[in-house]
């Protein structure tokens, strides 16, 4: 993985020193709350319901075991012994003390991590494919490009005070695992007919209160022009994005109000002036960055492991786990393993410090000391020999991280919600848990197959409810918490936004509502038809009918 050089390290250290001094001046009354707020946000620090919340970047989701141990140490020393993995490849600590945050940032800097621009109206942490470098469907490894973008966007002096936050996702694979179409910019690697590498660039996508699927604004951008083109997009947005109303300040509103065609013209005109300039990425630089992301020293293994195959035949629970939590690897004899952070009774995405240490040890033993975090709030060991799968599974079971539910109904994407977040209108964690408890029959869950259930505690949509096959949104009605249900959302190549099925429900009705929706699917599905395919074929009407007919 990428290792800092002296320039990288010095930049991050200077940032820590800068924020230490800003915090000191704030506490001394030399900076007002309004002056300090954007500064602390751009260092990941929110003020939440109970305490500050610190959001730490995990650039493109890649983490070493050393870094994970540091996160465990921070959770133990400065927080309440756990962290929360978010839907944007960040990790959040919910209970730090403001006075201690500079110290936490200094600890992070020691392991080449930071919280720079994880919040605020600036370019946020760039997300990418959790299977980068190991997926079979990769056109180009996205990691050198995302690292390039991380560097470019870090303290980019022109774009520190944008109209609103700005999120970029980059994937190098044909199958989108990064939700590129619901980002301010989403770039997907493509190969031209001549064999050149480039990016298909989408802009103006996003969730929140105005969900919009991104518009492809350029089918083929030569890869070396990536930063020039991003500069052009950002400059048009910075100059013309609305600043009079924060609910209309995202780039998606600018694209809509200008029309995509006019927006593209403006971006292309700006790009023409930047094209070929100093921001053009030399091949040497990509080669330098790529050298940080070479394959680990894989062993030459047989295509499949006899021991693993016999364990699969012997153990139903193991084979069920393998069916959902293990994915194909580009390399013979290896596998990609997803550790579920969606065990019933544990808030989705949460991990205790002790388990962080245990996972770090597993990464060292089975996966070359590295792991990835996914935007679905799970962890990935990307390079596990198939012959080790059974031993790994046994250990994960002990840790409560082997729930065989990746991509299933109980693999719920969920924001921290009203229990923690001061923006939330409603709690989200207890609703997720109630649904997980209702669907506790593993065989039934596996029979249902792929169903993405996404849950947000407010319109800001951190739980990505708009692109959940089943989306749940917490709303406030006269001071009490209600839940609106939508169907038909999807992320990935066939991104779509869910449609609201009707009036919202009380919290205690939610497990019944989900059960009725699932019943309709089970009754009306065609052979081999997934939940989302059935919703697309049937539309929401039969689901709506069932849900409201029986709700008395």
């Amino acid at each position: 993985m990428y290792r800092y050089d002296s320039f990288d390290q010095s930049l991050v250290s200077r940032r820590v020193a800068q924020f230490r001094d800003q915090t000191r001046r704030f506490l001394a009354g030399e900076l007002t709350e309004d002056e300090f707020r954007p500064l602390r946000l751009q260092n990941g620090l929110y003020v939440q319901k109970h305490a500050p919340m610190l959001r730490v970047a995990i650039p493109y989701g890649l983490l070493s075991s050393l870094q994970l141990r540091k996160l465990a140490h921070i959770a133990r020393t400065y927080d309440r012994g756990y962290g929360h993995f978010t839907t944007r490849q960040n990790v959040q600590f919910n209970w730090p003390r403001l006075e201690e945050v500079p110290e936490i940032l200094a600890e992070l800097a020691k392991v080449e991590m930071h919280a720079i621009q994880t919040s605020g109206n600036c370019i946020r942490n760039t997300t990418s494919d959790p299977f980068a470098g190991v997926a079979a469907d990769e056109i180009v490894d996205p990691r050198p490009w995302t690292e390039l973008v991380r560097q470019w966007s870090t303290i980019h002096p022109e774009f520190a005070f944008l109209p609103r936050k700005f999120k970029i996702a980059i994937t190098g694979a044909t199958r989108d695992r990064t939700a590129v179409l619901v980002h301010d910019i989403g770039a997907q690697a493509v190969r031209s007919e001549a064999g050149e590498i480039g990016f298909r660039v989408a802009a103006g996508g996003g969730q929140g209160r105005t969900p919009i699927v991104g518009h492809v604004i350029r089918e083929f951008l030569p890869a070396q022009e990536l930063l020039n083109y991003f500069d052009a997009i950002l400059r048009v947005y910075n100059r013309h994005g609305r600043r009079d109303n924060k609910y209309k300040a995202r780039i998606k509103i600018l694209v809509r109000e200008m029309t995509p065609a006019a927006f593209v013209r403006e971006v292309e005109r700006e790009w023409e002036r930047l094209r070929g300039g100093p921001g053009t990425v030399p091949d040497d630089e990509i080669a330098r960055l790529s050298a940080h992301f070479v394959d680990p020293p894989y062993a030459d293994l047989p295509r499949s492991s006899a021991a693993c195959l016999s364990a699969l035949a012997d153990s139903r629970p193991f084979s069920r786990w393998a069916a959902r939590n293990v994915a194909a690897h580009k390399r013979n004899g290896y596998a990609i393993v997803t550790l579920s952070l969606k065990t019933t009774g544990v808030p989705p995405g949460d991990l205790t410090a002790d388990r962080m240490d245990a996972v770090a040890e597993l990464a060292d033993r089975y996966s070359f000391g590295e792991l990835r975090v996914t935007h679905e709030q799970n962890l990935v060991l990307a390079d596990v020999p198939q012959s080790d799968l059974h031993a790994l599974w046994l250990r994960l079971k002990e840790l409560g991280l082997a729930t065989p539910n990746i991509g299933l109904l109980t693999d719920i994407v969920c924001c921290p919600g009203g229990d923690f977040c001061s923006l939330a209108n409603a709690k989200s964690i207890p609703i997720a848990e109630a649904i997980q408890r209702r669907f506790d029959d593993v065989d039934y869950l596996h029979d249902l197959g792929d169903i993405e259930l996404n849950l947000s505690g407010c319109i800001n949509a951190c739980g990505h409810h708009h692109v959940g096959n089943i989306g749940i949104l917490g709303v406030d009605k006269d001071g009490s918490e209600w839940y609106q249900v939508s169907l038909g959302g999807a992320q990935g190549n066939a991104t779509s936004l869910g449609k609201v099925i009707g009036p919202s429900f009380a919290a205690d009705e939610m497990p019944d509502v989900i059960e009725r929706i699932v019943d309709v699917y089970v009754e009306r599905r065609q052979p081999g038809e997934s939940f989302i395919e059935a919703v697309r074929r049937l539309d929401i009407e039969p689901f709506r009918e069932r849900v409201y007919a029986t709700a008395d």
Partner: protein, 169 residues
Amino acid sequence: MPRLIRHGALADDRWTLLREARSLADVPAHGPVIVPLALWAAERSALSARGDVGVLLAPADDPAALGEDLATLPVIAIDFPTFVDGRGYSIARLLRERHGYLGELRAVGDVLRDQLYLMAECGFDAFVVRADRDAADALAGLVDFAGVYAPTVRAPQPWFRRRVAAAAT
């Protein structure tokens, strides 16, 4: 106490900023002044003849509107009505990089220590620090960092090119 930082040091400010000037009647007959773009555009010949008149750009103004005056204007001020309005950073870069403006480029308005480094990278060489803040203290903000990755006005080559150059020497 001086509020102006110019070329990295405190300096006396001889320029008077006339934010509200709407017509020539609002402009004193003598002494260097900075007037809003609208007034400059309306009274260009009278004002440019003086040689001691600069222009104030608001965040929504188009720097290209200054046209060939950019070659002779001694001062352009860019207004930050609030420090979280970042449009002035793009305007500054366009003036320096696209329009070749070489005169003084000053930040005025809600100008605070913690943004000075960013402003300097975008091409500002003068800063009128907000009246209730100590400009001497704000000087420290200019050296918060020693370079960033992206190409900037101050360092037109991005770090990935500077790195190669540094390694070669």
